[in-house]
C-alpha cells in the first residue's frame, strides 16, 4: 500500500478512469433496467406495448413508493419489515370508514369522503411508523426484531378492523356504496395523458425523498447515523430522534402506498401487501443502497422497484411458471448484492 498521500489532482487518465468507474457504479441499476428491457423487447412481442408498460408501472409504483420510506430507514442502518402491513392497515382502516356507516354516540357518521379517508389513512400510517420508532429507541431493541413484531401486530389489528373480509365486500357494504371513492380508484388505476397516476405518485414521492436527503438537515443526519453511528453521536446528532423521524416517514409513505394499492384493486384487505414487506427491501438493495446504511439513495430504489416489476412481468410474458419466477427473483437479488459488494471492495482497494 502506498503510504504517501497523493498531492494535488491525480494524473488525467487516472481521474477520467475513476470518474467513469464511479459513474458506472452510480447508474449500474439504470443499465440493468435498460438491458433487461431491451432483452424482453426482443424476446417477446408483448413487452414493448403501451398497455404492458403502463401495467408494469402500476405494479412497480406500489413497491417504489414503499421503497422510499424503506430507503430512509435502511440508510440509517435500520430495516422496516412492517411497511406492507402498515400499507394494509392504513388503507383498510380508511376503506372501512369510506364504505360503511357508523353510529358514534348516537350520531350517524359516514361513509366518509375521499379527502377525510386519505387523511385518516395517512394518520394511521404515521402512527404505526411512530410506534415502530418508539419501540426501537425506547425499548432499545434491534430494528429487525421490533418491526418483525409490529409486522404481525399491525396485520392483526387490520384483521380486526376489517373482520377478515375484503373492504368493500358484498357482506359489509350491503346498505351503502359498494365501492371505494372514485378518486381512490383513480390514484391506483387511473391515468393522466396515458401515464398511470400511480407512477406519477411514485415519482413525486421519490423526488420529495431525494430533496429531503440532499437538502435537509434530517437527510444529512440520516447519512451520518448510517455511515458512522458513533461519529454522528459525538457530533451532537440525536440518533433516537433521527430514527423515530425515518420510521415515522416510512409509515406515512406506506399509508400512501396502501391507498394506491387499494385503489388499483378497488378493494382493501388486511393482508394485501404481505409480499411488499420484503419486496421493498429488495428494491432498495437492488437500487444500490448499502443494507448496512450510510450509502445510497431513493432514485436507485425507484429503479430497483422497476427492475423487479419488469422482471416479474417479463417472466410472465415468457411463460415462465410462477414457481420458477420465485427462484429467478431470489437469484437476481443475491447476484445483484454479490456484484455490489465486489464493486465496493474494488472501489476501496483502488484508493
Amino acid at each position: 500500500m502506498e503510504s504517501k498521500p497523493a498531492a494535488g489532482p491525480g494524473r488525467a487518465p487516472d481521474r477520467i478512469l475513476r470518474a467513469a468507474r464511479e459513474l458506472i457504479s452510480r447508474i449500474g441499476p439504470v443499465i440493468a433496467l435498460v438491458l433487461l428491457g431491451a432483452f424482453l423487447s426482443i424476446a417477446t412481442p408483448h413487452f414493448l406495448k403501451v398497455n404492458n408498460l403502463a401495467n408494469i408501472t402500476r405494479q412497480s409504483a406500489i413497491t417504489a413508493i414503499l421503497s422510499v420510506g424503506q430507503t430512509l430507514v435502511i440508510l440509517t442502518g435500520g430495516i422496516d419489515l412492517s411497511v406492507g402491513s402498515v400499507a394494509a392497515i392504513s388503507a383498510s382502516a380508511a376503506a372501512v370508514l369510506m364504505t360503511q356507516r357508523f353510529t358514534v354516540f348516537g350520531v350517524v357518521v359516514g361513509p366518509l369522503n375521499f379527502e377525510l379517508g386519505l387523511l385518516i389513512a395517512l394518520a394511521v400510517g404515521a402512527a404505526c411508523g411512530l410506534v415502530n420508532g418508539l419501540v426501537i429507541t425506547r425499548g432499545r431493541i434491534p430494528d429487525f426484531i421490533a418491526t418483525l413484531g409490529t409486522l404481525t401486530i399491525f396485520q392483526g389489528i387490520a384483521l380486526i378492523i376489517t373482520g377478515g373480509l375484503p373492504v368493500p365486500s358484498h357482506l359489509t357494504a350491503t346498505e351503502l356504496k359498494g365501492y371505494l371513492p372514485p378518486q381512490m380508484i383513480w390514484m391506483g388505476a387511473g391515468d393522466v395523458l396515458g401515464v398511470p397516476v400511480a407512477g406519477i405518485v411514485a415519482v413525486v414521492i421519490v423526488v420529495l425523498g431525494w430533496l429531503l436527503l440532499r437538502y435537509l438537515a434530517l437527510g444529512r443526519a440520516v447519512y451520518a447515523v448510517g455511515g458512522n453511528r458513533e461519529a454522528a453521536r459525538v457530533s451532537g446528532i440525536s440518533i433516537d430522534r433521527t430514527k423515530v423521524a425515518v420510521y415515522f416517514l416510512s409509515g406515512l409513505i406506506a399509508a400512501l402506498a396502501g391507498v394506491v394499492l387499494a385503489g388499483r384493486m378497488n378493494s382493501s384487505n388486511a393482508l394485501m401487501a404481505g409480499e411488499e414487506n420484503l419486496r421493498s427491501i429488495a428494491a432498495v438493495v437492488i437500487g444500490g443502497t448499502n443494507l448496512f446504511g450510510g450509502e445510497g439513495g431513493v432514485v436507485g430504489s425507484l429503479i430497483g422497484a422497476f427492475i423487479m416489476g419488469e422482471l416479474g412481468n417479463g417472466l410472465n410474458l415468457l411463460n415462465v411458471s410462477a414457481f420458477w419466477q420465485r427462484i429467478v427473483q431470489g437469484l437476481v437479488i443475491i447476484l445483484v448484492v454479490i456484484f455490489d459488494q465486489w464493486r465496493r471492495r474494488r472501489l476501496t482497494a483502488a484508493a
Binding site: 503510504s3 481521474r15 435537509l216 438537515a217 443526519a221 447519512y223 455511515g227 458512522n228 454522528a232 446528532i237
Partner: protein, 153 residues
Amino acid sequence: MSLVPVLSIPPNVTLAKVSQLAMHRRLGLRSESQMASEYVRSLSIHTPSLNRAVMFLSGGNQQKVVLARWLFSGARIVIFDEPTRGIDVGAKAEVFALMNQLAGRKAAIVMISSEMPEVLAMADRILVMKAGRVSAEFAAGEATQEKLLRAAS
C-alpha cells in the same frame, strides 16, 4: 476516528454544526463546500477533490478533517485523545500548529497523550494520571520527563 467514512469532506466538516439544526431546516450546500475548501487550503488537507469520500484520505488528512470540524463548530472546550496516534511526522507538526491555532481562538484544550515530549512541548498545565487518579500537577516550565515519569510510576 469520528468521521463518517463514506461522506465527503464538506459534510464531515459541518457535522457538528448541522447537528444543531432542526430536522426540517435546509443545509446551505454552496456555502458548505466553499467553507470546506477554505479549510482544505488553510489546513493543507491533501485530497484530489473536495468530493472524495474521506475514507480514501490518509490518516493524517483524516485527522485534519476532524480538526476542521471542531474549528468550525466554535466549540469552547476541545478534547484531543492521543491526537498524533498513527500519523506521520509532518502531519504531527501540522496537528500541533492547529491546536495552537484553536487555543489562540480562546478555546480550552484538553490533550490526552502518552508521548511525554509532546506533552512537555504543548501544555500550559500538565496533570499526571496514575491508576485512574491525578497524581501530580505541573506548570509548563517546571515539568521534566523525569518528574513526569516519577509521578506516573
